[in-house]
């Protein structure tokens, strides 16, 4: 059925590759984006139980979520001593608290007396006092004298310190790990820092949307780490988005991160023979007609302005990149004159296992976070975070608070998401039907493309390694 090269996973879409496009970039492209590697990790089906089984979800909590480094919150959300956020995953609940100007710690969010959760949300406190009987702990997790201490001669404060999780910070983000014996976060990331090169620490959280989706968290995550689905799910993008020739970087020896680069401002190989460079440019602009100019993120045509023409022999990509530079120079106090086209136009998406899913690039960066919703295998939480450059470098706005939108509300109805809203809705339209279909399917597993879905294989392989470790 397949030829030998596809058996080895080396077959690629005919036509220009991502690196071919980067060869044509008007500026030098950083080595991090010139890197290309895809280790073939097999072609076997992936079992469906991981997506549908409650027992699998419970085991996943014990084997994976209790042992891996995971994105909990932003440092900017807890700037003052006593500021805290509650991070919950499965049945676990942690208070992530700033205990000193340069120290963040995470404690199990439960009173050791009768088990009530200590905090039900973030805020600022100088102690954690249980609302049930008033047992209290200092910010460093040590126990305060309990009420009616005479009745607790059997409780020694030394043994009643709050259990703690490990905390690490990275470019303004706070990660936690509930396993006291876990490897360091620096070691866990592997070579990720060499390839995720954008200074998230200089950006601020300008938008944070959360929504419960009716599917397993891995069904959702898997839907956002490949571009293969564009042909059927987002057909309106084909004239300006090079989908089938996206680049997927998957390393067998880097289990905790992977990447894709998806060229934009160039046609999909599916339609390349029928669209002109001017078609590419016009459809690209068209798709951004509603994009949030406030985010300073993308191209817009001002009223009364004409669409630019692609010069003879030129490409839409060159024109779009130049226009993007001009627009950003007008709205941001940053110099984009040396920024390569790829960092202005392309979708460069990373996944740091399991729940940190940032986009790269010189503009605002989007970060997705998909997580289980309690222990329910049939639902998850999806979050969209925008990290934007401040208008003035020394005037950083406070981070946007998360806004949970109801299940029946469309992302398209959230104006700040701009063009991403309806696109996200197209993605989410599939998800409940995948969740239902996985249960109706007679075949025991899903089948993946060797290359275009290699990040899904890599992600699930890492998951399997934790499940069996």
């Amino acid at each position: 059925m397949m030829d030998e090269t596809s058996e080895l996973g080396t077959a690629r879409c005919p036509g220009p590759s991502v690196q071919d496009y980067l060869d044509q970039d008007s500026r030098p492209v950083p080595p991090a984006l010139r890197y290309e590697r895809n280790d073939h990790l097999g072609s076997e089906d992936i079992d469906t139980a991981r997506f549908t089984s409650r027992a699998w979800a419970e085991r996943e909590m014990r084997q994976v979520w209790r042992r891996v480094w995971q994105f909990a919150c932003l440092e900017s959300e807890i700037p003052e001593v006593g500021d805290h956020e509650v991070y919950e995953i499965g049945d676990d609940s942690l208070i992530v608290v700033r205990t000193a100007p340069d120290e963040i710690r995470a404690f199990v969010n439960v009173c050791l007396h009768r088990g009530r959760k200590l905090r039900t949300g973030g805020g600022n406190v100088s102690e954690f006092r249980c609302s049930f009987h008033g047992f209290a702990w200092n910010l460093d997790g040590t126990m305060r004298t309990p009420p009616c201490a005479w009745d607790f001669p059997h409780v020694s404060p030394e043994k009643f310190a709050l259990p703690e999780a490990q905390v690490a910070t990275w470019r303004g983000f706070v990660f936690i790990n509930m396993d006291p014996y876990a490897e360091s976060f620096d070691s866990y990331r592997g070579t990720f820092d060499d390839y995720y090169i954008w200074p998230l620490e200089n950006r601020y959280k300008s938008l944070h949307i959360g929504k419960v989706l009716p599917c397993n968290w891995k069904v959702a995550q898997d839907a956002f780490i490949e571009s293969f689905h564009v042909i059927a799910t987002h057909p309106q993008m084909l004239p300006w988005l090079a989908d089938a020739n996206s680049q997927y970087d998957v390393m067998a020896d880097q289990p905790n991160w992977n990447r894709m680069i998806n060229i934009q401002g160039a046609p999909s190989p599916h339609v390349a023979d029928s669209v002109t460079e001017q078609d590419v440019l016009e459809t690209f602009y068209d798709s951004r007609a509603f994009y949030a100019a406030a985010q300073g993120r993308d191209l817009v045509i001002r009223e009364g302005d004409e669409l630019p023409e692609v010069p003879a022999g030129g490409t839409a990509r060159q024109v779009l990149a130049e226009r993007m530079r001009e627009q950003l120079a007008a709205t941001a106090r940053q110099d984009f004159s040396k920024t390569p086209d790829t960092e202005l136009l392309d979708a460069i998406n990373y996944l740091l296992f399991p729940n940190f899913n940032p986009w790269g690039g010189a503009k605002s960066n989007i970060i997705y976070r998909f997580r289980p919703n309690g222990l329910d295998p049939d639902s998850c939480t999806a979050e969209i975070i925008f990290m934007s450059s401040p208008k003035q470098p020394d005037e950083i706005p406070p981070p946007a608070k998360i806004r949970w939108v109801p299940e029946d509300m469309l992302f398209a109805d959230i104006p700040e998401l701009g063009v991403l809203g309806p696109v996200f809705d197209q993605d989410c339209e599939n998800l409940p039907y995948v969740q239902q279909g996985l249960k109706a399917m007679r075949k025991p597993g899903i089948t993946l493309a060797n290359y275009q879905e290699s990040r899904i294989r890599h992600f699930n392989r890492t998951l399997d390694q934790w499940m069996t470790k």
């Binding site: 805020g123 600022n124 406190v125 100088s126 102690e127 954690f128 006092r129 609302s131 008033g134 209290a136 009420p147």
Partner: protein, 108 residues
Amino acid sequence: MDDEVTHRVAVRPSGVELEVIDGEDLFTAAERLGYRWPTVCGGQGTCRICFVQVEEGTENCSPVGPLEREGIEALRRPVDGLTRLACRLRVEGPVTVTKRGVRRRVQE
């Protein structure tokens, strides 16, 4: 100390009158002036035992912050400015509150 601005807070039913320094919370003022004010947490804003009912002078009271709001809601009182936590309440003019159990501390 002499030119410090203070505001008078009357506490019913005991009739205690406290000169609260500008920027100081009511609980801390009472402690400073030698009064015992009901508390467990000692002014951390977490035990909610120090709460008062504001009878007069709500316009002279500081706004309710997030932790105090949490406490008032836990007391199942409306957050309408009439129920306040003494350890979070700052005043900018005369105020009258009701709080039982405010007594001069006995010298030991």
